[in-house]
Symmetry: C2
Subunit: 225 residues, 2 copies
Amino acid sequence: MFVPTMKSFSNTVEKAVAARLEGRVPAPVKHVEAGQPLFHEGDMANTVFQVIDGVVRTSKLLSNGKRQIISFCYPGDLVGISHDQSYHTECEAVSDVHLRVFRKNAGNIRFGDDPEIVELLLHFAAMEVANMQEHFLMLGCKTATEKVASFLLSLACRSGVPGQLGISVSLPMKRADIADYLGVTIETVSRTITKLKTTGVIFLPDPHNVCITDMEALKSAAEKN
Amino acid sequence: MFVPTMKSFSNTVEKAVAARLEGRVPAPVKHVEAGQPLFHEGDMANTVFQVIDGVVRTSKLLSNGKRQIISFCYPGDLVGISHDQSYHTECEAVSDVHLRVFRKNAGNIRFGDDPEIVELLLHFAAMEVANMQEHFLMLGCKTATEKVASFLLSLACRSGVPGQLGISVSLPMKRADIADYLGVTIETVSRTITKLKTTGVIFLPDPHNVCITDMEALKSAAEKN
DNA sequence: CGAAGTATTGACTACCTTCAAAAATTGTGG
DNA sequence: CCACAATTTTTGAAGGTAGTCAATACTTCG
């Protein structure tokens, strides 16, 4: 049974685990501008990044130009863990981002000499798997409306802040990013958001800011039927 | 660019890594009959299993009864790695299976005292992430025909054996399993397989055995356009 | 051999996509 | 700060792919 509660979408645990990395190994900070790549699929995977602020996206491309966005990474999240020599996704900054840079030992998935680091990385990878499993449910089982509603809910849990009219959520990514994350078209995303707006579930000050005015309605839209 | 080559679908690396687990920690063997559960979502995650022979499936359920199959696990694969106290998927035997049983230390994701075990688990989890990323591409970007063709190709790479008429592949799972793995209906899977059969791409001795008679045609069906 | 379960096939429908155009937003230079 | 161009988002109309409902054929197993 899928109910996108605070718990299932929360990243407080991620943050706690990721925080333990700080200070254990040297980690210079890097700045990347919105739209710019961090790495490409196939690049040598010699660096793991931790998002400090901003949002990055990982994606895979099909030969016909279609794109699947795998994940949006928020502050605390790790990007770039690979089991072999090369990255398996594209990765770009959605907004301007600051990142902590962890260099891997030559060819080795762990970095530094601290064996506990490996355990932290394992913990994080296992969490990533759990998050991806939720994403699968969305791609395979849900209608367009359910997908968009679930997406807004998950963002609300990650980065929503209480405001005058309800939980206020920033949508730093473009409609095309949302579409490619949910496996629908830009038009469908736009139409669905409009529908949620006209039915009074959300308020849309501008295309990149959503206010959830009826949380219960949004939750039921996310698991309708 | 997604071309389901032997490389992208091969599990030879998985097997090599998984093999290193053998003998390092006590691992009794368990037998589970086809259709029977190994564990349910929410169960205490105190065991990691390694498939010896047979096939198991992991899945997640929606409150409306819809199901998303996350993965089919073949010999060598690990099932049941979790970052917290409980399993995050359902898990059942597709066929009769033999499993190696690894008990975890209380609440700890690693088992045994060997720190290298943790590195192996991390390696495996990272591979699982890479595999799931390919699966995402299938769910989000592909048509029904492309999904079924890609699925048959991936099975061919995992368990196909050369035969008289081409690569022979066993389909131990039901049509409903394939449908829930690909995010389509049973009818669509059936119709698509029939189409591949009538166009001479595959031969179907019976519903659970496929012979790939035209590998190039199948590959192009998997990445058409 | 018969019953239950599974797979295939058919007809119709609906949701989402595609193609196209208008509206709104963002960014840039004067 | 405003104007204009480029990009992004929204909206509209038509069509197609896959879903739903229903019936038949095939397997499997007691």
